[in-house]
Amino acid sequence: MGKIIIQRLVISILVMLAASFLSYFFLYMAPGDPAVSIIKSQTGREPTQAEIEIFRENRNLNIPLLDNITIWFGMLSKGDLGISVRTGEPVLHEFKDRFGATFLLAVISLVLAVLIAFPLGVLAATRPGSVVDHVTRVIGLGILSIPEFWLGLMLMVLFSLTLKWLPSFGYGTIYHFILPTVTLSTGMSALLMRLMRASMLEVLNLDYIKMARSKGLNRPLIIWKHAFRNALIPVITIIGTQFGHLLAGTIIIETVFSWPGIGKYLVDSIYARDYPVIQGFVFIIAAMFVVINLLVDLSYAYLDPRIRFEQGRN
């Protein structure tokens, strides 16, 4: 296991470096001058050539590509992600200031989705072919067909505009969380429910479940202690690999609900060609992805003793 983790870490670091290098390269090659777009966004007009020159000089935009990359890696080794061209603030600050909101939104939605999806998936799997199974299947497929951003807009129209029950935007009180998290967790729970059902069905047909029945254990114990735990393993793997999907969903939902998270900031930075921010964000997102996958691996090992021990022996 230790070896595997080290192996994974090495690959992950390579992935992260490759990702940020690629994003940087893309930006560098792309048309458009960050100085122009940033001054334009701040002043709402075209800058003069003189203004552009001053801005470029002050924000270190005149450094050639290769020099810039070596500088960046040098800073990276010191844990410095550079300074945003647009705001002049350290990228790490910009990220930290916004990540909390995104993290809360994603985690609450995921927890909500898990709380809905797992019991429903188990219920459907334990009654295959029943009305419950059919209804959850059709509803699940239906929900998976709804674009998240559209659902968000519709919920906004219904609950904010028509019923006036909930705030439509912003961040702060618990009420602000309801619409975005419900929007995000709806699709997620449909997906997780389907996965849970399939995985559970598979496990329920295995011999050790029959064995558990033959021991006279009652149904809830068999389902939750014997089947659920084992059915969880593939589902958790998929949650891990779906993390990117979750993050992407969060970004779109953030723009719909004006959520002060990293998603909207990233989109704005892409438009403004704020190299250090994009580079740093891509690096951090890739790093998070890696950590999440590592956590998934660890939880996997925790749930499935076979992996824990067999790999431990290597």
């Binding site: 029959k210 033959s214 014997h226 084992n230 021990f309």
Partner: protein
Amino acid sequence: MESVLKIKDLSVNFNSKDGIVKAANNLNLTIYSGEILGLIGETGSGKTVLGQAIIKILPQTARVTGEIWYGNRNILALGEEEMNKIRGKEIALIFQNPSSSLNPSLKIGEQIAETVQKHQGLNKKEAWEKAEAILSQVGMPPRFAHYYPHQYSGGMRQRAMVAICLACQPLFYIADEPTRGLDVTVQNQIAGLLNSIIKNGKGQRSMLLITHDISVAAALTDSMAIMYAGEIVEYGPTREVFKNPLHPYSKGLLNSHPAKGLKPIKGFSPSLINLPEGCKFFSRCSRAEKDCQKEVPMFGRKGGKHIVRCFYA
């Protein structure tokens, strides 16, 4: 002798995509206390289904008719809750293939202890102590209770399986191919273990041993039932059946044993979906006559308890 389990006219059908699978047809069988009854047959003859029907863990798609009398209770008429008081406590099923029948994510000790906890009302700690005791009873160090199934060898897993079944000291055991897939030396150890469980039961314990392995059956069982295509074709005390197999299938089966020179029965056993009318062995039988094809032969008594389902035996 007192009978422990009486199976009367038991039929098991499954609905499948391709039609109705008749896994067992009008089975009648009695198991007496203190005895080991061998149920012998080829793979796919319905042996395992019979074992699982007794403890009622067949899939929901199975349709079971007939009666299974356990003492004065008809198991097939019992509700799930009552059944759970019998399973593991009074009747235990030793599964074939322990590597897939043990829960990979639970320690062996837990898998033993949970049965004890359920049936004997012990707390967790007491149940674990008991689990360790039972493990040593089946010849394994108690600390193995803290190991997971994948850390065991094949023979150890089978022992663990026996230990789980032994946990509540039930009186009736169903052992489903307990020696399958094991080395010969380990097979002997497991067979010895099973034998000792019954023989140490002071005549109270009995076992239904489901196997296709003739030598295990010869060594362990008191009486034998030979099954073919969902039906029992011959039944009798082990020694008599071995000495004088009556049914053509039994003869073939016993002759196909390596010790007797490996003479396989020609042809294949019929699919359980499209069973022929009349004698199921007809197509492979060297002695078959026209009427065998029309009518299922009834059991004929051939001295003592030895009975056979064949017109010409």
